[in-house]
């Protein structure tokens, strides 16, 4: 307690690095948006594939999802950054290799969210649409998806919030996001407590309004 009480907080150095902070913030947001969008596309495609009747289509997708759900994200990021280029014998741009693990991770969860949304729709909706004479694309577009998407939004927003926090793991492959930027400033200022406090507050300021929004969305969908 003595030590804590004696520490004199000094945030005066923090504003000197405003440019760094903003760049770091930009990188974090760019990776968040990029990997969420990429994951969403994967989720829609793989989620659709999971609806197929043949095992040859659903099984590979199922394994993809389970592999990414059952290994730590940190391991995935490191593996895609260092190992994949060697395995494939190709050179990937650093920024791309770093984001790949994050994107595939988001894709795995988005796939489950998409599939869950579709299968949550009552069987009666399918049979009523078919009985009217709708083809599969017609009933998907007009009957199933409009209802399912409403149910997919809250879990998807939740997963996106987690995803934004997960971008901080890019620290390990030296991508200059908010977290990594913080570590650079620490080595410059020797003020880790102040700097990491600012990092934490920054994440909170971005995410807290988002969680409020997610809660409101959930309440609306429940109606």
């Amino acid at each position: 307690m003595f030590v804590l009480a004696a520490y004199s907080w000094d945030f005066s150095l923090v504003p000197n690095y405003l440019n760094f902070w903003l760049k770091g913030l930009g990188v974090t947001l760019a990776y968040s948006v990029g990997t969420i969008l990429g994951g969403m596309i994967i989720g829609v495609v793989c989620g659709m594939l999971l609806l197929a009747r043949t095992k040859w289509v659903t099984l590979p997708v199922h394994y993809y999802v389970e592999i990414f759900r059952c290994t730590p994200l940190l391991v995935q990021i490191v593996w895609f950054y260092f190992a994949l280029p060697i395995v494939l014998q190709i050179e990937l741009p650093d920024w791309f290799a770093a984001g790949l693990g994050l994107t595939l991770y988001m894709g795995a969860f988005a796939t489950e969210i998409f599939r869950g949304g579709i299968i949550s729709i009552d069987k009666g909706q399918w049979q009523a649409s078919r009985a009217l004479g709708m083809t599969w694309p017609e009933l998907m577009q007009n009957i199933i998806l409009p209802q399912a998407i409403k149910r997919m939004i809250p879990p998807f927003v939740n997963q996106s919030i987690i995803q934004l926090k997960n971008t901080s793991l890019l620290y390990v492959v030296a991508i200059p996001d908010l977290m990594y930027t913080g570590s650079i400033i620490v080595s410059d200022t020797f003020r880790p407590l102040e700097v990491y406090t600012v990092v934490a507050v920054s994440y909170f300021v971005i995410l807290y309004p988002l969680t409020l929004y997610a809660a409101r969305l959930e309440a609306r969908v429940d109606q």
């Binding site: 009666g124 049979q127 009523a128 078919r130 009985a131 009217l132 004479g133 709708m134 083809t135 017609e138």
Partner: protein, 265 residues
């Protein structure tokens, strides 16, 4: 209702129809003919295969064997025989209206939207053309003032009447009713049966699976009794319902006879 008939004059002709799920055979060789404008009522104990049989007629279930003719389309089922699929199957179904036990209205659409859904989505009709048709049908089922409501705001009986209007909006050649009053509170059954009686009086071709024996007696031209996936008796409504020849029909009907008597008196 403009429509085409099968070569032998019947609107629907089913011969030796079978449907099995794995080793369980739900429908075991049913044959039936329905003439244009005829109302056929199918009765029988729960699990006798009557709903499955009905669902085979618009191919919601794929029959395992037998033949089916609806209008000018005919199909043969069995190993190696190709089922219609995709757009062809959808087109075929669009000519047959079906109403379900649980209504299955589209909850994200208004009442009017539900009734227009077939014409708009399947027939690609313009909204300006579909809307008056839908409004007329809603008036016909007594729901002219409910067009802007959502299904969840309606009672079960009202929802079921919307479902009937939705099916009619496709101007089907035949209507299939699958236990449409079974999920309703008793006081709401009448309003749905009244709509169906009106349809029958208008000359709509109908196949009705029901437990409403009084309705069957009043409206049916032809009654089919099913048990364990087979037809055990069929004939004119009065004959089958009041003077059944088959012992199993008689015992099944025994508990309903008071109701039929009441209506008749």
């Amino acid at each position: 209702m403009t429509s085409s008939a099968t070569p032998n004059g019947a609107m629907v002709r089913v011969d030796g129809l079978r449907k099995s799920y794995g080793t369980v055979e739900a429908v075991r060789g049913v044959s039936l003919e329905v003439q244009r404008g005829q109302v056929v009522v199918v009765i029988g104990p729960s699990g006798c295969g009557k709903s499955t049989f009905l669902r085979c007629i618009n191919l919601l279930e794929e029959p395992s064997a037998g033949t089916l003719q609806v209008g000018d389309r005919s199909f043969e089922f069995g190993p190696g025989k190709a089922m219609p699929h995709g757009r062809d199957l959808a087109r075929f179904r669009s000519r047959i209206g079906m109403v379900f036990q649980q209504f299955d209205l589209f909850p994200h659409m208004t009442v009017l939207g539900n009734v227009m859904s077939g014409p708009l989505i399947v027939k690609k009709m313009a909204k300006a053309e579909a809307e008056p048709i839908a409004r007329d049908l809603l008036a016909k089922v007594g729901l002219a003032n409910f067009t802007a409501r959502y299904p969840r705001e309606l009672s079960g009986g009202q929802q079921q009447r919307v479902a009937i209007a939705r099916a009619l909006a496709m101007q089907p050649e035949i209507m299939l009713f699958d236990e449409v009053t079974s999920a309703l509170d008793p006081e709401l059954v009448g309003e749905v049966l009244d709509v169906m009686k009106q349809l029958a009086a208008d000359g709509t071709t109908m196949i009705v699976v029901t437990h409403e024996m009084a309705f069957a007696h009043d409206v049916a031209d032809h009654v089919v009794v099913m048990e364990a996936g087979q037809v055990v008796e069929q004939g004119p409504a009065d004959e089958v319902l009041l003077r059944p020849k088959n012992a199993r029909t008689a015992s099944f009907l025994a508990r309903f006879h008071s109701t039929i008597g009441e209506r008749k008196a």
